[in-house]
């Protein structure tokens, strides 16, 4: 199955457990079969991952308890420019961060932040490709990625310096 690895990885990051990711991926590939007529060429990986992502959200909405926080507080207001720590000690901490803490920190982010980071850092998509996959304007991808990175950094620094 083409791009199954990438599809499963995205589903796992969005659903946050293996069992749901399994079900979501199977459902997504069925949807791909059904809508294959609408595939007009272009990047097949982006196409399949768009289907996986959409399947994730509709599956989670249907199967998770109502009110279960899917997204958390992905604050879309303007970046607080004055608040960047940006000091050398922090840079060193990030470089030396424990690998599993990094994974936990990413896992703790709201879904909107998690998905742009996965699509950018793991799947290496361009901003334009990400905008197409998550169906938002390019400018939103730009600001959301900037915010996602700031949040991830905050999370990591807290976990590394402040204990749990």
């Amino acid at each position: 199955m083409p791009h199954l690895g990438a599809g499963y990885n995205l589903a796992r990051w969005l659903a946050r457990n293996d069992h749901d990711a399994n079900d979501i991926v199977q459902e997504a590939y069925l949807r791909a079969v059904r809508s294959f007529d609408r595939f007009r060429g272009g990047d097949p990986r982006a196409w399949i991952l768009t289907i996986v992502r959409n399947t994730c959200y509709s599956w989670l909405e249907k199967n998770r308890a109502p009110g279960a926080a899917l997204t958390g507080d992905a604050d879309e207001r303007a970046l607080d420019v004055a608040a960047d720590p940006a000091t050398q000690p922090e840079v060193q901490v990030l470089r030396a961060a424990d690998r599993h803490l990094v994974r936990d920190a990413l896992d703790s982010l709201p879904a909107e932040f998690r998905e742009v980071l996965v699509l950018r850092e793991l799947e290496s998509f361009s901003y334009k490709e990400i905008a197409d996959i998550i169906d938002v304007p390019l400018g939103t991808v730009m600001s959301r990625l900037a915010r996602a990175r700031a949040r991830l950094q905050e999370c990591l620094l807290q976990r590394t310096q402040g204990g749990r």
């Binding site: 791009h3 199954l4 079969v33 060429g41 994974r103 850092e121 361009s126 990175r149």
Partner: protein, 252 residues
């Protein structure tokens, strides 16, 4: 450009997603601004941390089989809901989806130019290498094994280096056939993404240009060095692929 203007753009600048004019302005600002320079360092550190972390979840055993079985059931029992393009594929189902999605060749009415043919062959060569079991003929990340392997198989000596420290791990090499001649191919892996670097002797005077373009969802980056033409093909984005080109060009 002020700090207030630059700050919201630093993340996109780091990803090389800004237009040239804006990038230049930010570059100039960063040179004079300690704070913004530090922010960029943070981005770099964060990317390194993400690069080193175990962030890729592999599909569990049996998922591929389950998906294939579910797709087969769907086609058999729900013929009307399955797209017509699917049904007339005479080959086995999984192969049809794999082939169609992997190839998705855009049809063109005009006769392709010489260069277009080469680019098309490069993309096909890349995709083909990922489909069947023919990614490498010599599978090792030891450059001292890969380089001599090409002796007698191609009529030139491709430069072989492992760039694992920069995230590009050498997977191995093979010989391929592009535009009517045997070429050397070095295969690299960046996270889960494969990069095929096709190498053959250049025809004319060396050019300093770096060519970067996209075709059928893949990115290609081309350059010349020491009398050889290089083309890197991958689904990696252009910026990361251009990094690999830089590593090749910088290596002795």
């Amino acid at each position: 450009m002020t700090c207030e203007q630059a700050r919201p753009l630093l993340s996109a600048y780091f990803d090389r997603e800004l237009d040239v004019a804006t990038s230049l302005e930010i570059g100039r600002h960063v040179q004079a601004c300690e704070h913004c320079a530090a922010v960029l360092q943070q981005h770099d550190a964060l990317r390194a941390a993400l690069g080193a972390a175990p962030l890729v979840f592999a599909p569990p055993n049996g998922l591929e089989e389950r998906v294939r079985a579910a797709v087969r059931r769907e086609v058999r029992s729900n013929a009307p809901s399955v797209s017509s393009r699917w049904r007339w594929a005479a080959v086995p189902l999984a192969a049809a989806l794999a082939a169609a999605l992997a190839w998705s060749v855009a049809s063109s009415r005009s006769a392709p130019s010489g260069e277009q043919i080469v680019l098309a062959e490069l993309v096909s060569g890349h995709v083909r290498s990922l489909m069947a079991d023919h990614l490498v003929d010599v599978a090792t990340s030891d450059q001292h094994t890969v380089k001599p392997w090409f002796n007698g198989k191609v009529d030139f000596a491709p430069p072989v280096a492992d760039f694992a420290a920069s995230g590009f791990q050498l997977v191995g090499g093979r010989v391929d056939y592009i535009a009517g001649r045997p070429v050397a191919v070095l295969v690299y892996k960046w996270r889960q993404h494969m990069v095929n670097v096709f190498i053959w002797p250049s025809g004319g005077a060396g050019s300093q240009d770096l060519h970067s373009l996209a075709r059928e969802g893949y990115h290609l980056v081309g350059w010349e060095k020491s009398g050889l033409t290089f083309w890197a093909v991958s689904d990696l984005n252009a910026a990361d692929l251009e990094n690999l080109a830089r590593l090749f060009r910088g290596a002795a």
